[in-house]
């Protein structure tokens, strides 16, 4: 790294900014630019005191990484900061269209959420779907993703089809790069629908909670075997992916894992299930006591320590598989590593500063109401519209971006204003969730000292940095990033 415009030398030349965490005789240090280093505590003390001499074996590395005040490469470090926080220069990239509240499943973690298949006034109209797409295309972000969700979105096929066609036509007109994605349980998929999706370059994602017994325990489906339907269509889309044809790109299908209490202790079987079905990514997502899941938390929930144990065991097992030549990576880790290792923004709206609520993502409810995110919509479903930012028919894009809820979420999720986060070694890579704070702790700001989500993220970061410290682990993890 070139050393340009060195700052005026001050004596002693300590760090310009420093975040740290002591772990026994070692100390992990990070800074605003996203750089990190492991130091012996005695070396940390030298660095902090500005007494780390130029001949010290760690000096060059620390100077390159922006830890020494009189050796700052202003241009290079500012570029790193900008790259890691690239989302600050763009608007909402993720647009979640809730095409219907109806669902044919009764999953444990949202059992009171979805309306029954026969429910009325629970579908997005074709007109609202088109208006939602038009609204999304107004985003200041040059590359957006429109994600179709529910309920089960295939229950409202006409709106889905209309939105896809509108997005494809509108993208060219708006000069935007538009990705389309469907999140479905696949139980209502047909050959005709699948072909339409593939031909219009809609990527598909489903839920796979593990082997059949676990999946079906979490995801109750009175119309049949949920696991069997999921696997059947996963295979179908994988075959389509393998046999690409000219004219359109077929994407590889993906799956999401929701960790319930029943998943704990079964990490190997879950990961093996993913590998068995040719999935190369597993996104180990914790459950949050928000909206519907809050009501049944006692049955399906768990604490940060339990999740961290599960996550650590899963990472260890995935590593073991990688060493044996099996292709699989954990997606949360991959996204965090993109920031840690490459100082690049992975586009993960849940862990950034400020969080992606409204300014990174928007949830479009079936009736055209707009929310800061899908979690905010869930709170709205419970009768509390704190996170409602407008309506697709009534409000302009600019008005929505300037709404009280948008601003409140931006301010409260700014880590510079969070007493614990501002001092935390993981701050350069992390983010808080105002919806979680509001639901669990009673305020948008929350109290990170007693916040389980914070504990959970600390567990994940702790696991990743411990693996990065190991020479073998670092080699594998670095390849996960930016894949």
């Amino acid at each position: 790294m070139a050393q340009k415009n060195p700052a005026k030398r001050t004596s002693p030349a300590g760090p310009p900014q420093l975040l740290w965490r002591r772990e026994g005789a070692d100390c992990l240090v990070t800074n605003d630019f996203g750089h990190y280093a492991w130091l012996k505590c005695k070396d940390f003390n030298l660095l902090a005191a500005g007494s780390l001499g130029e001949k010290h074996p760690k000096y060059a590395e620390l100077a390159d990484k922006g830890f020494v005040r009189d050796r700052l490469d202003f241009e290079g470090l500012a570029a790193k900061w900008r790259s890691k926080n690239a989302y600050l220069g763009t608007g909402p990239g993720l647009h979640i269209l809730v095409l219907t509240l109806r669902c044919n499943h009764k999953c444990l973690y949202c059992q009171s959420a979805a309306a029954g298949v026969g429910a009325r006034n629970a579908d997005m109209s074709v007109e609202t779907a088109r208006k939602s797409v038009d609204f999304a295309l107004q985003s200041s972000n040059p590359a957006i993703t429109i994600e179709f969700q529910g309920g089960e979105p295939l229950l409202n096929w006409e709106a889905l089809k209309a939105a896809v066609l509108r997005a494809r036509a509108g993208a060219k007109k708006a000069g935007k790069q538009v990705s389309l994605a469907l999140v479905s349980n696949f139980s209502l998929m047909t050959e005709e629908k699948a072909s339409f999706l593939v031909e219009n370059e809609v990527s598909v994602c489903t839920s796979l909670d593990g082997p059949a017994d676990l999946h079906n325990r979490n995801r109750l489906f009175s119309g049949g075997n949920s696991h069997a339907a999921t696997i059947k269509w996963l295979k179908y889309f994988q075959e389509r992916y393998k046999h690409q044809v000219p004219g359109y790109r077929t994407f590889k299908p993906s799956a999401l894992l929701t960790v319930s209490r029943y998943s704990l202790g079964r990490h190997k079987e879950i990961i093996d299930e993913y590998v068995k079905h040719g999935l190369e990514d597993i996104f180990i997502r914790p459950l949050a006591p928000i909206g519907y899941a809050k009501k049944c938390w006692g049955q399906i929930g768990y604490g940060a320590a339990e999740f961290t144990k599960f996550y650590l065991a899963s990472l260890d097992y995935i590593h073991k598989l990688n060493r044996n030549g099996t292709v699989i990576r954990e997606k949360m880790a991959a996204m965090m590593l993109e920031k840690i290792v490459n100082s690049r923004d992975p586009g993960y709206v849940d862990a950034r500063c400020p969080c992606g609520a409204a300014i990174g993502q928007i949830a479009y409810n079936y009736n055209g109401d707009l929310y800061t995110c899908d979690e905010g919509r869930m709170v709205g479903w419970e009768g509390d519209d704190t996170f409602r930012i407008g309506n697709v028919r009534a409000d302009s894009y600019r008005k929505v971006m300037a709404s009280a809820a948008t601003r409140a979420c931006v301010l409260s999720s700014n880590l510079e204003s969070q007493p614990d986060c501002a001092r935390c070694v993981y701050k350069p890579y992390c983010g808080v969730c105002p919806v979680y704070n509001y639901e669990v702790q009673g305020s948008l700001w929350g109290d990170m000292a007693a916040n389980d989500r914070c504990g959970l993220f600390k567990g994940i970061f702790g696991a990743l940095f411990a693996l990065l410290k190991k020479p073998g682990g670092e080699a594998i993890l670095k390849k996960w990033a930016g894949k």
């Binding site: 900014q17 902090a48 000069g175 994407f251 099996t326 292709v327 594998i476």
Partner: protein, 159 residues
Amino acid sequence: MKNQPRANTEVAVNLKKYSLETVRYAAHAASAAARVFIKLKGPATAVVEFSPTGKLPGPKIAAAFRAELDDETLRAKIWAANSELRDFMILKALSTEPARAQQDDSGLTPEQEKELDDLIAQVESEIKQEAAAGASADPLGITKTWEDKYGAKKPRKKN
């Protein structure tokens, strides 16, 4: 504090050595494991009461609090020496527009674009078939095409 059980552990802090702000943050950091209450005793002493709420006993919480006092003092020192520099760095990073990728203007005719797209699709298909045949030899997906890895179509730049 009335109507509350007595605090399990009390720590007296010399305010000539540590600022009240430092004491507050160090006490707050310990609040994950205890209910915390701070009183002032005379002009130069703060007394921090810890009433444990979990498994961690009072003396361990007090020890963590004392360690945090020193860490927070160090943070305050670094902040005092560098706050303007840090603000400057953030402003610098925010003020410079990153180089934007060019819009989709390849300089090709629509027919040429289509031919090129077809050619890319064909080559990709061949690569995927080869990769699928030797999947176990490439655990990290090194032979995967760029499109496979990133999914989205990117504009081609003019030469």
